[in-house]
Symmetry: C2
Subunit: 364 residues, 2 copies
């Protein structure tokens, strides 16, 4: 490995087997039918980029903690790595995962089911680093900024080049958020945020800022492009629609196999498999319907559970004896009593697609 | 006058002399060259509408105070009018006033200089009405909602029909904000918000919600369409652009006469006139340049001053003896030490146009 560099510093190679949703900036999803284990292999993990992957060398890279702090801190990679590390197994799902199923269709990357993955992330708690800098009483929000940057075309847009940035409320930031330099026991790859990525468990993937370079403490709500225009939705808690940032994952299950329009043998037995996830709770039940939602049966839940990780599930399906099209559906429930909704809330726009979807297969 | 109605309930008549920027919904500006008095006549006052003017009859109209209140309140017009009234002379300027001068040009109503006016508004303080409803300690923001409604076309947009709504921080709402039913001593006209309009002194006009029907108390930041997508701009206080609502007026002066490209006689005397305004401060100085910004002289300030009103000014110009084009400029200063900037901040987008502008006239 070259000094201070990374063995795979170029973003070009090795997306074999991934579905390319956009070539540049690179956006890749896992073929979800290949789901076969609790931890997603790094090379199978979806890649969401808003700008070109920045070329970063470790020895020149710095993490700056600034803004409303008692003492600004600048950390080299070695200093960061010398801090007490911990690991979390966390499922990240892109807020637009499943967008291709929306009708009417919407703009943005046309993700199918594979913009979700579950990995083991290792790093230092964000709260530990914030403590180093010292937070005044008025600190309320933490902005995480990546090294990736570019220009926005469509209005409303900030002028000039901007960097990818998202904020967290102080409580979340000093809670379970990790600044990770490892994914599945190895250095982060360039596509996954080398050398440092925030991991925000329980939130959609857009919060887990890659190529992290700046942590900015502020005393007011941050309304950066990626949480006011993009990755935001209309909430109607007062009756009047209010554009709020997308944050927490919504309870969801997905069928990995069979795949859409798969042909299955009539009268046969089929092991339906998939995964389910939620935010800050356990998946306690996954129901499966093989007749378009008329009848529901419980799936068997996988033994692996982890606070912030998905739960695999499977279901023994006795394929009907009559040929024809049939619709499979699943519905997950979590320990906080939340269930996947039957219908879509139109205010969610192109995001947070967790309503029950039908998957058609051909019995023949 | 019909019982419970209004003599000019139809939005059609009598915009004689006004410049039509959009016919439906109606958007009108004053020909600013006609500025001749401290208080703008109601029929000369600019009209900014986002949706068709709602047809409202007083007897059926109600004002509701709801949300996070100790007791929801519903007020008929007579009940409101029985409350202790006060008056304020306040200048309202549309946040897009002067947009036609921007280069490169931007979308939106192409206001020239006339989307500004100064009127006497009479009504009850918003704070008085909020006290009736009772605010809990956690109340932090007050949403003002109009009766006007429609659909938004361009993304990011809330689905379905929305009403015009803006919010105020609690401190401002319980300060000098008025719920006005009179403008210049007469009932509000339909175009100006009949029967009730919020008047938010010192803020751009978009905060002074017309056809007011709902006051909603909340404990979180409101990011309605008209303060997150529209009437918002990119602020860079942390370095990262953050989309924040437009609020306070910026110090500004405008020349009323001469007008753009007016022909003036060489060697003659010309009384240059105009107005200047700011937020929560007094206009203490207006400078005039008649040579494109090389030399500046002080204008005479008008005797009328009022905390929230503009200040008229005039300047005796000795027109040069040589024919040709010359550029007039003005620059206002306020009692808080704020001055009109020479250059435009591109992050302001299509709003808050208070930079020093040149006005070309022809000496002949």
């Amino acid at each position: 490995m070259p000094a201070g560099g990374h063995p795979h510093a170029a973003p070009t190679p090795a997306h074999y087997g991934m579905i390319v949703r956009q070539a540049e900036p690179v956006n890749l999803e896992m073929p979800f039918g290949s789901l076969d284990q609790f931890v997603t292999r790094t090379e199978d993990f979806f890649v969401r980029c808003h700008f070109p992957i920045p070329e970063i060398t470790r020895d020149r890279w710095r993490l700056r903690i600034r803004g409303l702090v008692q003492r600004p801190v600048e950390l080299a990679f070695d200093e960061l790595q010398a801090m007490p590390a911990s690991s979390v197994t966390a499922t990240l799902e892109c807020a637009g995962n499943g967008r291709v199923f929306l009708s009417p269709s919407v703009g943005g990357a046309q993700w199918e089911r594979g913009a979700v993955g579950n990995a083991v992330w290792t790093g230092v708690p964000l709260g530990y680093v914030l403590e180093r800098a010292g937070l005044p009483a008025e600190a309320s929000e933490i902005i995480l900024t990546g090294t990736d940057e570019g220009e926005i075309e469509a209005p409303p847009r900030p002028g000039g080049r901007i960097r990818y940035a998202r904020s967290l409320p102080l409580g979340k930031a000093t809670g379970d958020v990790l600044l990770a330099w490892q994914m599945n026991g190895a250095d982060l790859t360039p596509a996954h945020g080398f050398p440092l990525r925030a991991i925000v468990p329980g939130w959609y993937g857009m919060a887990s800022v890659k190529w992290l370079s700046d942590i900015i403490v502020t005393d007011r709500p941050f309304q950066g492009y990626y949480q006011s225009v993009d990755y935001a939705y209309w909430q109607r808690s007062t009756g009047e629609p209010s554009l709020v940032p997308i944050t927490e994952l919504h309870v969801k299950s997905q069928i990995a196999r069979p795949g859409p329009c798969e042909r299955v043998p009539r009268g046969g037995a089929y092991l339906v498999r998939g995964a389910a996830w939620t935010c800050e709770a356990e998946i306690v039940r996954v129901e499966v319907s093989t007749d378009g939602g008329l009848h529901w049966s419980d799936a068997r839940l996988g033994r692996h559970t982890d606070r912030h990780a998905w739960r695999l599930w499977e279901y023994d399906w006795a394929i009907p004896r009559e040929p024809g099209r049939t619709t499979l559906m699943t519905r997950a429930h979590d320990s906080k009593g939340r269930t996947q909704p039957a219908k879509r809330d139109p205010d969610r726009g192109a995001y947070m697609i967790n309503e029950v979807l039908g998957l058609d297969v051909m019995v023949q």
